[in-house]
Amino acid sequence: MSSEVTMASDFPAKISGRTQYVDDLHLPGELYGGIVRSPHPYAKITRVDIREAQQVAGVKAVITGDNVPHHAYGPTVYKDWNILACEKVLFVGDEVVAIAADSRDALRQALDKVVVEYEALEPILNPHAALQPGAAVLHEAVPDNRPVKIEFERGDVDKAFAQAYIVRSGRYTTNRIYHGHLEPIAVIANWDEQDGLTLWAGSHIPYRARETYAAAFGLPEEKVRINVPPIGGSFGAKYVLKVHVIAAALSMRAGAPVRIALDRYEDMLTAHPRVPLEIDIRIAADKDGHFLGKDVVVYGDAGARIYWSPNVLASACTRADSLYQFHNVRAKGNLCYTNNSPTTCMRGFGNAEMLFAVENVIDEIAEGLGMDPAQLRLQNIVHKGDTTIGGYHLDSCELEACIRQVITLSGWARRRDFKKYHGLGMAIGNHVSGYRGIDPRFDGSTAVARLLASGRVEIETGEIDLGQGMSGTYAHIAARVLGIDPSFITVQSGDTGRYPFGIGTLASRSTVMGGNAVKQACERLRNELANWVKQHYGPTAVLTGGGVEVGQEQHALAEVARDFISCHGGDAFSVKETYTPATELPDRTLYGNPSPSYPFAAHVAEVEVDPDTFRVKVIGYWAVHDAGMVLNRPAATGQVVGGVAQGIGWVTMEDFKVSQGQVQNRSLLDYRMPGSSDVPPVTVEFLETEDPNGPFGAKSVGEMAIDPVPGAISNAIAHALGVRGHDLPLAPERLWRIMQEQPQV
């Protein structure tokens, strides 16, 4: 049931509806699981009565906080998770009771019959409230409600600002964004005394999920196995999830497989959105437009538990320091617990959020100096060979060329002649190709390459294809090393019980980390096979793409494979290789070189704003990327176009509207995402040079695609209106209000 994708692509199966997602899978005797959730953002549980629910015909298990284990666990170093709530609920949607029944109707009836009484408490709804003296403590281990505090200064920021000719500053806020995965969260869990716990679940970091779930039940890791069927979109939503744990707890109780599949309402009610950030930023420059310093204070809303918000905050505080030469930088980051649904990573991972602020402030400096914003960027960016102030080693960097090319492609010079309500905006960005700090223990990747009896080559990886084209890219890499057609390669992944360990698909790491492992494994397979054929067929035997040549004699690869198997007791030729990048674990100030390579991009957006309704229409978009050498062009281009589309939604319409901790717009009718008519043709260009650390010179592209988008579109809107919005989304009503507040001319 694991995902099997060849270079021939997963598209036909997905488009024709043949792909089997979690909800399409069924186990004999499976039960339907459901969850009774808190309607309060913060409350004491005063009574739980499950007796009537237990009486409903078809109900096989009803569990509460009283009959599940209470080990300290969680997917990161912050062990603040539970399985079900006991004394208090911490957010709307917090899980109190779970039920498994043999039909959906029985489940629904039983869920309705559970009685939970609460004593509502005053909720903490934003980071500042969390830090108020006397605020309720949400987790005993963190008495100040601030699990993460980041503070560093490199250089002398106060001195830099004292010497500045121009300083521009502002408070920028980024919002709660729904990942918008087509496939809602779903899981099937099966407990077996002998084999332990097996889950079928969409997770693109299944080995971390295994570690976390084992800890939740006090099981050894080898007693948990996670199968990952094809994932119907994630963008960061499908890492490690409480729903998976609860399904497992129900299965243990019921002694049968339990499936939980959220519908869209529950998926949105309980969604762990993009971490909302409040960013106070100022940037200083001299009179010629050379940056002197950057100073940021960031508050992040973790919600009621820690998912990946600490890493998001860290990216927000650091990444832009390796995009521009600020010379002096300071950051203070505060991550706070609140009674909102826990927030987590989403494509762009704090970097896109900070770049929204940085790129707007840079445009303001350009305005202040009467400079072209593109020129201001050009004279302050990082270059190949730099070690940045944050410690990144830039072994490749085509950022300057990206900016120059996007100037040409977009017709940037037109900008001067635009009338009001017509704008052109630029933003640039950088990202990582894997991040050392995600798992300090290991940040590489392992791959197995195997010559099957059919002559096909099978690649096993611990990384996960979540629809981004990873398997196609690995097939391409393997084919290139082995000199065979990619259609002869099968890429296998998504079963922690069968395939090698992997950190998973996050931090845009799959092409470089997993790709290097695949390349190494295939090189070894090729070299060892070349030696073996000389032993077996004679010293003149030569391995070619299609098989072996011995003088005039030809042996097809399938024949070679079978000969090898015959000589080795039935074992296919198989090698395993691990790639370990030469990265540095960031130090306590987050300084270090955390990734083997850094992609860059320069984007330009063109907008028209309706002068009365303030509807923004993005009418043109140009994206020039340095992703190293491009290995899978359709997928890479698709990543950029998709990132731009997602960014258009983020900036112009998407927003979880939350009142008293409760998501108000929990349907796709009320949470608007862009459709195809909201996305203009996107011109995508890759400036290809080889990065020395990537497989065949490749770098990442997935998150880089969205990083500059909020900055580019918001700068275009500011250019169109002559007024700058600071709070995402810049939806029509918000722009209308900003314009209402302007003094009338």
């Binding site: 519908d263 009365d612 009320d670 995402m673 862009p674 459709g675 009503e733 209308w736």
Partner: protein, 284 residues
């Protein structure tokens, strides 16, 4: 529970009188979020009217146009007969997405009486009548009297909407429908307006109807009167301001009342400008 698909209207009316079924045509409203809503329909019979030929036709009649209850949005915007009422066609073109337009019926839009319904707004501006039948006979009622408020109509227990009648006056009159939504397609309106206006020496009528900004589509007769007398652009501004002042919008997850009210003014002015400042063509 049973699902009835009669082919004759009389059969349907008999069922209405005896079994009080839930009337369904496209199902684009009643089946949304079905799993969470199905309990409220427990034990009810269903009457699917879309096999009844007489309610599926669009016909030119002596005193206007007759649109069958089961005619769907796509049929309306594709129908040459409906070219006489382009404002309804414009509304039909933006109802939901294509799949919805292929199912959503005009009578369903009217019977559902959502304040944000698209097709209802031009029907108000065209002076449409709702034709209702029961075993007792037929009655015709002005649409503004039929729709009482959000999800409320004056339909009687055993009645079925069979047709929507568009009177002669609106046919081929200059008209438009404008909608403010949140994205480029498959959306729900924040505010909408339909303008049907013919201002010349012989005959003059002006209907300006605003949707999604009050419990039901509304017009301001005093403001319409101003346009009769003078269609200069500053008059349009004043008319727009009057409409904005008379709107009773709500604040919800899609927009605030303030923004909706301001947009009523914007859309009314745009609608009037489009209809009255465009060169008028006489057809029909």
């Amino acid at each position: 529970m049973a699902w009835y698909q009669p082919q004759e209207l009389t059969e349907a009316l008999d069922m209405m009188a005896t079994r009080e079924p839930v009337i369904v045509c496209g199902g684009t409203d009643v089946f949304v979020n079905w799993l969470r809503r199905k309990q409220q329909f427990q034990g009810r019979d269903w009457l699917d009217i879309h096999r009844i030929q007489s309610v599926r036709e669009i016909r030119r009649v002596e005193d206007g146009l007759l649109i069958g209850a089961a005619v769907n949005a796509a049929e309306i915007w594709q129908s040459p007969i409906c070219n006489a009422i382009p404002s309804l066609q414009e509304a039909a073109r933006v109802v939901g997405g294509w799949q919805i337009q292929n199912r959503a019926s005009i009578a369903g839009n009217v019977a559902n009486a959502s304040p944000a319904a698209d097709m209802m707004v031009p029907l108000f501006a065209l002076g449409a009548r709702v034709v209702l039948q029961s075993v007792q006979g037929e009655r015709r009622i002005r649409i503004e009297d039929f729709v009482l408020g959000p999800k409320q109509t004056s339909i009687l227990k055993h009645e079925l909407i069979t047709h929507i009648h568009i009177p002669e006056t609106g046919l081929f009159a200059p008209q438009t429908f404008l909608r403010l939504d949140q994205r480029g397609g498959t959306d729900i309106s924040l505010v909408s307006v339909a303008v049907v206006a013919k201002v010349d020496r012989q005959a003059s009528h002006v209907n300006i109807v605003v949707g999604a900004a009050s419990p039901k589509p509304f017009s301001v007769p005093m403001a319409e009167e101003m346009v009769h007398k003078d269609a200069a652009s500053d008059v349009m501004k004043r008319v727009a301001a009057l409409y904005a002042a008379h709107a009773a919008p709500i604040t919800d997850v899609r927009a605030s009342a303030d923004y909706r009210r301001a947009m009523v003014g914007v859309l009314v002015e745009r609608g009037l400008g489009k209809v009255l400042l465009a060169p008028q063509t006489t057809t029909g």
